[in-house]
């Protein structure tokens, strides 16, 4: 085990978290690295400001090659998760900013991180335990209730390609199946307790600035709404505004039935809202179901993602069932998006492509019993669950026609019904530096109906206020990409930047926070240059895996077939959007970063990564 200072050059070029993680991923892997092999580095990276007063600065990134998106089961693509809670700050207080975990243990182990010290300990007694039990046992054994833990559950141990890390009751590092990367290393958990001070440049002013900004944020209506009802609020907004993914509401868009999953339906079960460290919003429920089939279900969430992934996408409109499934996934250490594989399987069953001889039981929409059993079967790789646990590689074990029931972007599987009505949302998903990610770069405020004048004031140019319009949307996506890259690299929360409101913190506030914390006075163009560098490294990495070009930024053909003429007519317009988008990034017209851009950004040494 080796410890070293994070080089100042890395800080200046990439800040932290996602920025430094991606640079490390680029330099420590190559095109042959097996995501589930010993050479795939598991990189835990704190934001530059994680753990300090800021804008939801409890967040950090876990990065590795993802086992869910490669061209074969033994290859990978960019995997990256952003997660909140309290364990990131604790790691900062223990004196560490990044952990680069390489190799593979022959027996289950866990890391114990204390001030400036890391031990590897035997985790045989934890292997097989769910994520909640694991955290409880480790805390008890540590003798210190303030110990924070992030761990994997049975899904990660069983190398399920939709496995995630969990810390606390529901903070998940998910979306890229990285829980299985830890499982392959037999790394069960990372336990942290830190009591060191962190020096900042202007402590008194920082605390005053933080207090003043927190008060300002807490007075805003969107903060109050999110802080009272959480992300489930999106269910109603998406439904009535017509900007939800068709997949959310089942096959024929059963929007009325989705009423059962509105945010208000959660209130009777809510014990209150909880927060990541220092956050002004407190956006998630603590819940308790007192009676009925799911009596005793107690946890945090469900988020909108669970309401869809374990709810609407399966035509399961029972809020109590979805809440139970949310907790089940969290305990198993499995992404709630695993429901997408269940949705896919039900479609195949209904179409007659697979039958009971493959699945072991009938698969029906809204069948809670089957959903609950199959969710566990996936985590434990039992029966048909073993097929679904392979994510997109389940196609290797299904009839060839099954491929037509999924869409693919840069190797990542999506629903075949992902067509949305919001142009900027579609473009951001197609071009996202994390394959097919729906909100890596999402310009959330596009749905607020801001008038042209307000958009011009924010972006400095005309952007069409119509969500279906095209003018200015490439710029909008680019602008948000860069802002979010800085947000992530600092360890701030996406919800506390220009995502749900044009009035949320952004570059000016980030500048001030950086000045008060580090003493640096970075201009906005300098911050945008750092963001461009982070995003371009990610683009180069995609290129290494053969998915970093224009052909990879296009809509899956199956989307166009399923969505019909509206989507088909937009094909040409999206090519024009890509033209503009590439110009903004100073990439060539095939979407490849140019030598001049690499020179300007000081990453010429990474030029060999790019695709041809």
């Amino acid at each position: 085990m080796a410890q070293e200072e994070v080089p100042m050059e890395w800080r200046q070029k990439f800040l932290g978290a996602r920025g430094i993680n991606m640079f490390l991923l680029a330099t420590l892997t190559d095109a042959t690295t097996n995501p589930l092999g010993p050479d795939n580095p598991l990189i835990v990276g704190l934001g530059l400001l994680t753990g300090l007063p800021g804008f939801g600065t409890g967040r950090f990134n876990i990065t590795a090659l993802s086992p869910a998106t490669g061209s074969t089961p033994y290859s990978g693509n960019i995997g990256d998760s952003n997660v909140g809670g309290h364990v990131g700050p604790e790691l900062k207080y223990a004196g560490f900013d990044h952990l680069v975990i390489r190799g593979q243990s022959s027996v289950p182990v866990y890391l114990v991180v204390a001030n400036d010290n890391i031990e590897i300990r035997d985790a045989s007694h934890l292997w097989g335990k769910d994520t909640w039990e694991t955290q409880q046992i480790i805390k008890r054994e540590s003798g210190d209730e303030r110990t924070r833990v992030i761990c994997i559950g049975p899904a990660g141990e069983n190398l399920v390609r939709m496995a995630c890390f969990i810390t606390g009751l529901k903070d998940a590092a998910g979306g890229s199946g990285l829980g299985s990367v830890a499982g392959a290393k037999r790394l069960k958990a990372i336990a942290v307790r830190g009591t060191k001070d962190v020096s900042v440049a202007y402590p008194k002013e920082l605390v005053e600035y933080f207090s003043e900004q927190t008060k300002r944020l807490m007075s805003q209506k969107w903060v109050k709404a999110l802080g009272y009802l959480g992300t489930p609020l999106r269910m109603t907004a998406a439904k009535v505004g017509g900007w939800g993914e068709a997949a959310e509401f089942g096959v024929e868009g059963r929007v009325e039935e989705a009423e059962g999953l509105n945010a208000e339906k959660l209130l009777p079960y809510s014990l209150g809202m909880s927060a990541c460290l220092g956050c002004a919003i407190h956006c998630r429920h603590r819940h308790l179901i007192k009676e009925g089939r799911y009596a005793g279900t107690r946890g945090e969430g469900p988020e909108y993602g669970a309401l869809v992934g374990q709810g609407a996408a399966l035509r399961n409109y029972d809020i109590e069932s979805v809440t139970y499934l949310n907790d089940l996934c969290n305990r198993l250490g499995m992404e709630v998006n695993a429901g997408g594989m269940l949705s896919f399987a039900i479609e195949l069953f209904e179409s007659g492509l697979i039958g009971i001889e493959e699945t072991g039981r009938p698969l029906k929409w809204g069948d809670r019993d089957t959903i609950e059993v199959l969710t566990q079967d996936i985590a434990y790789r039992r029966g048909f669950g073993d097929v679904l646990a392979e994510g997109k590689f389940a196609l290797d074990r299904l009839p060839p026609e099954a491929r037509r029931y999924l869409g693919f972007i840069k190797g990542a599987a999506t629903s075949r019904r992902e067509w949305k009505t919001v142009t900027s949302f579609v473009l951001s998903q197609l071009t996202a530096s994390l394959p097919a990610h729906v909100y890596r770069s999402r310009p959330g405020i596009d749905i607020l109906g801001l008038p042209a004048g307000a958009l011009k004031a924010l972006y400095g140019r005309y952007v069409d206020p119509d969500i279906k319009g095209y003018q200015g949307k490439a710029f909008m996506v680019w602008w948000h990409e860069l802002l979010y890259a800085i947000c992530d690299a600092l360890g701030c929360c996406r919800f506390l930047t220009v995502f749900n409101s044009p009035h949320a913190p952004q570059y000016e506030e980030y500048r001030e926070l950086l000045r008060l914390t580090t003493g640096w006075d970075l201009s906005i163009p300098k911050l945008q240059e750092i963001a461009e560098r982070i995003y371009t490294v990610e683009r180069l990495l995609l290129g290494r895996f053969g998915v970093g070009m224009r052909k990879d930024d296009r809509m899956p053909e199956i989307w166009l077939e399923v969505a019909g003429s509206e989507a088909a007519e937009s094909k040409a317009k999206f090519e024009e959007l890509l033209d503009e988008y590439y110009q903004l990034h100073s990439w060539d017209q095939n979407g490849i970063p140019t030598p001049e851009t690499l020179e300007r950004l000081g990453i010429v040494d990474l030029a060999s990564l790019k695709g041809t």
Binding site: K221, A225, L229, A313, Y439, R442, I447
Partner: protein, 94 residues
């Protein structure tokens, strides 16, 4: 013909109701706000308007899937109006 208002988000906790009927129906969003304020107090106007007196971006007022973006927008007879808090995330993906 009366209109039905369905209310979601923070406004529901302010009104204390999930849905209501207005008869005679208001003809514009401005009239709708006036009517709701008469019934439920000025808190409604404070909640739905920003400091400049325009519709606050934190809310959407929808009729048949279309968002009404200003106070002078017309409301047809007999429609269902939905007032909901708007947020853009979380999300779902495969």
């Amino acid at each position: 013909m009366a209109i039905t208002i369905k209310v979601f988000g923070m406004l529901r906790s302010i009104l204390g109701e999930a849905s209501l009927v207005l008869d005679p129906p208001p003809a514009t969003v401005h009239q709708l706000l006036n009517e709701l304020s008469v019934r439920y107090g000025e808190r409604v106007r404070e909640e739905l308007l920003d400091e400049g007196g325009n519709l606050d971006y934190a809310y959407g007022i929808f009729v048949a899937g279309e968002k009404l973006n200003n106070l002078s927008a017309k409301i047809e007879d007999g429609v269902e109006v939905v007032i909901a808090s708007i947020i853009a995330g979380g999300d779902h993906s495969y």
